[in-house]
């Protein structure tokens, strides 16, 4: 039911920006900008879950972090792809190394590394602990990465100055943007809960299989 609500809201809103805008290409901004926000928001979720996992050892925290990662990575990828599509008419090229796109690209690599770390261990508990440490190290690093990329960008002032989203967002654009952001958030939460349920189910399967192995061994 919740899923239906979220999806419905999401699709309803795709239609609405068409009313507001004259130029088709700028419409992509409604997909691109909230995706960037959610890419960062998902990582914040992972970072907080990791902190909870390390400090309070709440079992659901690991599940939450693991489940959120692919969603965040997808948001990041969507942001990059839509950014590229949006920029092509303006830049003339498929990619431009501007500050935001570059930062998001590095964020994508961080997501991929985080997911790779989860898959690297047979022992699930070790994977969870190691991933939590990595997530926090990444979280501390992110502001510095953003700052250094901005610094780097001003140093190598690109020929065409492109700022996705513009220096100021026109108030007419703000409302649908926020509504889209809300829809993205609902999508995130719904998908997260679905993935967490799936993750818990697969854990239960694994524990059951392990019990069978132990019973055969004659232990306990």
């Amino acid at each position: 039911m919740f899923a239906a609500f979220a999806t419905g809201l999401y699709y309803a809103l795709v239609a609405s920006p068409i009313d507001y805008l004259q130029r088709d290409t700028v419409r992509i901004m409604y997909v691109h900008v909230p995706a960037a926000w959610m890419a960062l928001g998902s990582y914040t979720t992972i970072a907080i879950a990791s902190l909870v996992s390390i400090v309070w050892r709440h079992p659901l925290a690991d599940v939450c972090a693991k489940a959120a990662a692919p969603i965040g990575a997808v948001f990041t990828a969507v942001c990059l792809v839509t950014g590229s599509l949006w920029g092509k008419p303006t830049w003339g090229t498929w990619w431009q190394w501007d500050a935001r796109m570059t930062s998001v690209l590095v964020l994508l690599f961080i997501y991929l590394g985080y997911m790779a770390l989860w898959s690297a261990f047979d022992d699930r508990q070790r994977a969870a602990r190691a991933a939590a440490i990595l997530a926090l190290v990444g979280a501390i690093n992110l502001p510095i990465i953003k700052f250094s990329v901005d610094w780097w960008n001003t140093l190598h002032q690109p020929a065409s100055v492109f700022r996705s989203g513009g220096p100021t967002i026109h108030p007419d654009m703000l409302t649908p943007l926020l509504i889209m952001a809300l829809a993205y958030m609902l999508f995130f939460v719904t998908t997260l809960l679905m993935r967490m349920r799936a993750e818990l189910a697969s854990q239960r399967l694994e524990i059951a299989a392990e019990r069978r192995a132990m019973a055969l061994e004659g232990v306990q």
Binding site: I54, A130, W152
Partner: protein
């Protein structure tokens, strides 16, 4: 916990250096790799001196960064495998001290030789002589951050199959600020600003690294 007269990071570093000396083989590989990677660029972008000179600082930095990654997989692995790590904990050494000692050793045995070899690669790529000094300074100040980040990645992935690739994947995004500011030091206009931020980045890496690496080792031992 009494650690006797010889406890602490100094002893651990001396021990690590003793081990590196005893198993002499691996050290030179990073140096050779550094030079080879740097010399790949002329093949890739053409030998025009102006082009190479323009990007020389960047090439040196990327090559140094990649070469530093090579020895990370073996940073904690042997000690975790043969029980040395357990013995260190039981004898009262903190994992933070162990991590710091490994970082220092990595820097001394992998990063520092690279840095000293920089004039060779810089000359090969035709970097203007004025840039050499700032390039060296940037590397000296930035490579400790690489050792620290590398140690964290190595600690998190102890015992993982094909850990080396995973380490690279984890280190490279986190090393972006060091790379940006490190190369920036050689820039005539922004050098001062870059130097300042390079220092900040390295300090942060050195402050956080030992604790994160120790946490990773703790997890690996369970």
């Amino acid at each position: 916990m009494t650690a006797g007269v010889d406890g602490g990071i100094g002893t651990l570093v001396r021990r690590e250096l003793q081990l590196v000396w005893a198993e002499r083989s691996g050290g030179a590989i990073a140096l050779i790799f550094f030079v080879i990677v740097a010399s790949l660029f002329p093949f890739a972008v053409g030998p025009e001196p102006q082009v190479l000179a323009r990007i020389a600082a960047g090439i040196v930095w990327v090559s140094a960064l990649l070469a530093c990654l090579l020895s990370l997989e073996r940073l904690f692995q042997p000690d975790a495998e043969d029980g040395t790590l357990e013995q260190l904990v039981v004898s009262g050494q903190s994992l933070e001290a162990v991590a710091i000692a490994k970082m220092i050793t990595h820097w001394l045995t992998t990063a520092l030789p690279l840095v000293l070899l920089t004039p060779v690669t810089a000359a090969m790529l035709g970097a203007p002589f004025e840039v050499w000094g700032t390039l060296l300074l940037g590397l000296l100040l930035g490579t400790p951050a690489l050792s620290s980040i590398g140690a964290v990645a190595a600690a998190l992935t102890v015992g993982v199959r094909r850990g080396g690739v995973l380490i690279s994947l984890l280190v490279l995004p986190l090393a972006v600020p060091t790379l940006i500011f490190g190369v920036g030091v050689a820039d005539p206009l922004a050098g001062g600003s870059a130097l300042k931020w390079l220092g900040v980045t390295t300090l942060l890496a050195l402050a956080v690294g030992p604790f994160a690496a120790a946490a990773g080792l703790r997890v690996a031992m369970e």
